[in-house]
Symmetry: C3
Subunit: 215 residues, 3 copies
């Protein structure tokens, strides 16, 4: 069996690795699910996503379009991930603040990952929070509180380190993006705001299935 | 193959996912082992346990009854886990303080997880310690020292944050549990003690196979 | 199927677990690849290595001889690991400092793990750094900068904790190794240097396929 040889052709309509387990979930077109990943019944995954090797997506989760889950990401009931988010390898979500083996909580905490967010490798996301649009979490961080749009946080617990552009690069205060050139409005001289639809911040790419919002 | 459809009936006598690997280990009744998990020969797992997807349980480990290992937990030789413990997803145990690839240690360090302990998601447990009964480790923590009964610790390295009830909720000093109502004896005005068998702390549950100690 | 029964005989010429996926990579003699591991085309793995369960080794990686990857290690494009390194379970490498789901970086960052390095369990290695020969990273650490030879670091972010011998044990300043007896030259009274080929530091071992440098 040489499943690799046909991937290019299959990407257009999606691909599920023969050693993945997908059980009746709704999965959008051009989404790929890799080996040893498991998508449970009742999960929703949009189009153009990449669900990495060994990922686990539980029921009652919602994953938007063009989301990347790198290898080994655990997405539990109550987690929603918006379009274009990047979840680094081995990142672990949670949905119960004080679990005990013998107690089933009356409801699970909800966690929301905003548009275009980046979560670095091996991060731990403590439940009940929202990661603001295009915010970025450093690798190995333990995130315990909300992040603001474009905010960069890292550490255990994660703390404010600075700001990033929609394009992902660090922003210097009071300046436009030195990388993609996006114009930045610095509110109150301290917190950045960027036109998310500018061509600078959503560069063209050769990757199949990737589109800017509005296309 | 629709293995999900028969799970309810199978739980009574346990379930081993067809994509799990179980090699001659002793596994108690009503214990479930999920996909891509691997239980090695010489491991001992009690009854009513839930061994999550992708877990690895090595030889010369002892796991009690009604223990939950969430997905991707690594349990190495020398680790013992007592009844009713909850080990969060992707938690990693260890058994060698100063490993080198070319040195086989003369013996492995031992780590003991007490009755009813909770370990949060993606924690790292440095070997040679004991986690006291019903203590709780925050998600993403790196635990390097013993925990006391009912103690709540978190961080890297994990430090004392407070106390939790047997039921899992935070305790306020000098008060009974605000959640389950368990009476708390505050020794020396600082360290809590709770009757572990009170009905308040071991609530009834609809989960099959879960019983209080003594039943 | 009892694949365990024949492992002793198979180790001499290597072993690939039937539930591993190995796709055309170059793998040296006497290297073992365990269940649910995946080695991509274009990876290079030397001889006498142990590639643990659930590991992922991407294209354009280079792994030397006698390297141990414990379970669940993710090695991405751009990572090289020299001989005799020990990478603890669930350690995650990275290769993009500021990833976004819709941006393919023009090149990936490179990370180099030196001869005989130890990386503890569940560590996160931020890309673009070099871990010096025989340095040691504590479990659960997030490593953001280079390590010096024989340096011991830990924490998030990882910081200098002290020094270790080639044999892995802690060194006391101005002393020889109290464990293996290796002579230590303390440069400037502060930074240790050890003859890496001394018999003290590369002990004989019964493990098959393990040899000292030069043999």
């Amino acid at each position: 069996m040489n499943h690799e040889s046909n991937i290019a052709a299959e990407v257009a309509q999606g691909y599920i690795h023969p050693q993945a387990i997908v059980e009746g979930a709704k999965i959008g077109e051009a989404t790929r699910v890799w080996a040893f990943a498991h998508v449970m019944p009742g999960a929703f995954i949009g189009k153009g996503c990449n669900i990495g090797e060994g990922c686990f997506v539980e029921a009652d989760t919602h994953i938007g379009d063009h989301v990347t889950l790198k290898n080994g990401v655990a997405v539990w009931t109550g987690v929603s991930i918006e379009d274009y988010a990047f979840i680094g390898p081995h990142t672990v979500f949670t949905n119960d603040l004080y679990p005990r083996a013998w107690i089933k909580p009356p409801r699970f905490q909800r966690t929301r990952v905003g548009l275009g967010v980046t979560v670095g490798a091996n991060a731990t996301i403590i439940c009940g929070i929202t990661l603001g649009p295009f915010s970025m979490v450093g690798g190995g961080s333990v995130v315990t509180t909300h992040t603001r749009p474009l905010e960069l946080v890292a550490g255990n617990p994660a703390e404010h380190l600075g700001w990033v552009c929609v394009c992902g690069q660090r922003l210097k205060k009071q300046e436009s993006c030195g990388s993609c050139g996006a114009e930045v409005l610095w509110k109150d001289g301290a917190e950045p705001s960027i036109d998310e639809n500018s061509s600078a911040t959503w560069p063209s790419t050769s990757r199949p299935g990737v589109r800017r919002p509005g296309e």
